[in-house]
């Protein structure tokens, strides 16, 4: 009987995240308010406090914030099974939509009109990514540590170091920076 209700909650989790996954365009942070409304206000699976705790926890983990939040919320509600159902439900819509586009539309991608569309759309996407940079960094651009390490990592990437390695060196550099500051004091 207990297992049966767990599966039911699992399916509810799947459906909840399938819906939020389907209706949030552009991914990432735009999904967070919707997930919060669904989990905290509608379903009452988590308190506001628990949701915020989850979010702080999802940030230093690689991977899409939305999927991470779904996984953690699913775990809180129904353990490992809930986590699996929630993460799967969150990913499935984007998988199906992109697969549908790749199957049905990719033969039109090479046409001159589609090329022009993607030139314009791609340029706008550059603006979007630049805005993501601005929003994430605006509070820390004046911090010398962030500035030094960030520019250092950027130079590494531009000169052909693998981005993953550059990320690692930036974290390592931060440790060295803190150590040097504490020695100087």
């Amino acid at each position: 009987m207990k297992n049966l209700s767990k599966v039911r909650v699992g399916l509810q989790l799947f459906w909840t995240f399938f819906r939020t996954g389907l209706f949030t365009f552009g991914g990432g942070f735009s999904m967070i308010p919707l997930i919060a409304r669904e989990l905290v206000e509608r379903r009452r699976w988590l308190t506001e406090e628990e949701f915020r705790e989850n979010l702080a926890f999802a940030m230093p983990v690689p991977g899409p914030v939305a999927v991470n939040t779904a996984f953690l919320a699913g775990y809180r509600v129904a353990g490992a099974l809930g986590a699996a159902f929630a993460a799967f439900g969150c990913v499935l819509p984007s998988f199906l939509v992109i697969l549908g586009i790749a199957l049905g539309l990719s033969r039109y991608f090479g046409t001159p009109l589609a090329k022009k569309f993607f030139m314009g759309a791609g340029a706008a996407a550059v603006g979007l990514v630049a805005y993501a940079f601005f929003r994430l960094g605006r509070d820390s651009f004046r911090d010398p540590k962030t500035l030094i390490l960030g520019i250092g990592a950027l130079v590494l990437v531009v000169f052909g170091i693998h981005p993953l390695l550059a990320l690692f060196f930036a974290v390592l550099g931060g440790l060295v920076y803190d150590w040097a500051r504490s020695r100087a004091r």
């Binding site: 996954g21 949030t24 365009f25 552009g26 991914g27 990432g28 942070f29 702080a56 926890f57 999802a58 940030m59 230093p60 690689p62 991977g63 899409p64 914030v65 939305a66 999927v67 996984f71 775990y75 993460a87 990913v91 984007s94 998988f95 939509v97 992109i98 697969l99 790749a102 199957l103 009109l113 022009k116 569309f117 993607f118 030139m119 314009g120 759309a121 791609g122 340029a123 706008a124 996407a125 550059v126 603006g127 979007l128 990514v129 805005y131 993501a132 940079f133 601005f134 994430l136 960094g137 820390s140 540590k145 960030g150 990592a153 950027l154 981005p163 550059a166 990320l167 974290v171 440790l175």
Partner: protein, 179 residues
């Protein structure tokens, strides 16, 4: 159909590495995508990569997941799409499980905040590199430079009241009008 095995193995390795560095809402994944998918494996051209990012901004779901599905399909059909999508999510799911196990030992999440701030400079650098590589692939001429600047300004001034997906669609349509 010989040789699908090695290709699937390469897809797996590439997207696990992409998943490992995809922090902060997907934007930092773009520089990893252009390294692995465009430069190392030549699965997509720079212009096609920009198309995938534009597509990802207009469709539901995280950019890293969208790009994984699309690239995987291009390289090895539906099986490739499923494998790449699974691979890009493997590192986050592994780390989340690890963190959940660690949280049993300590209730405090101070270390999570510390780790997030330690990663911040590197993530910013990766996003800046993404702006550069995407810009090189899409901004050919003044009008496209104007599109990029306009979409950035609208987001800054509009305080996100205009939906980003709508902006990408709108400038795509405008692009069709350019002779």
């Amino acid at each position: 159909m010989t040789g699908l095995g090695p290709v699937l193995a390469e897809l797996f390795g590439a997207f696990v590495r992409i998943g490992l560095g995809a922090f902060g809402g997907g934007a930092s994944a773009i520089s990893l995508l252009s390294r692995e998918v465009v430069e190392v494996h030549n699965w997509l051209s720079p212009a096609e990569m920009a198309e995938v990012v534009a597509l990802a901004e207009m469709t539901p779901g995280p950019i890293a997941v969208n790009a994984a599905t699309f690239t995987g399909y291009r390289v090895a059909g539906v099986a490739g799409a499923a494998l790449a999508t699974f691979s890009v999510l493997l590192p986050p799911l592994f780390f989340l499980s690890l963190f959940l196990a660690l949280r049993r030992l300590s209730r405090s999440d101070a270390w999570a905040r510390k780790l997030a701030s330690a990663l911040q400079p590197g993530i910013l650098a990766l996003i800046a590199a993404a702006v550069w590589s995407l810009g090189k692939a899409t901004i050919h001429g003044w009008s496209f430079g104007f599109f990029a600047a306009a979409s950035f300004s609208i987001l800054v001034l509009g305080k996100e009241k205009v939906h980003p997906a709508l902006l990408v669609l709108l400038f795509g349509l405008l692009g069709m009008a350019i002779p």
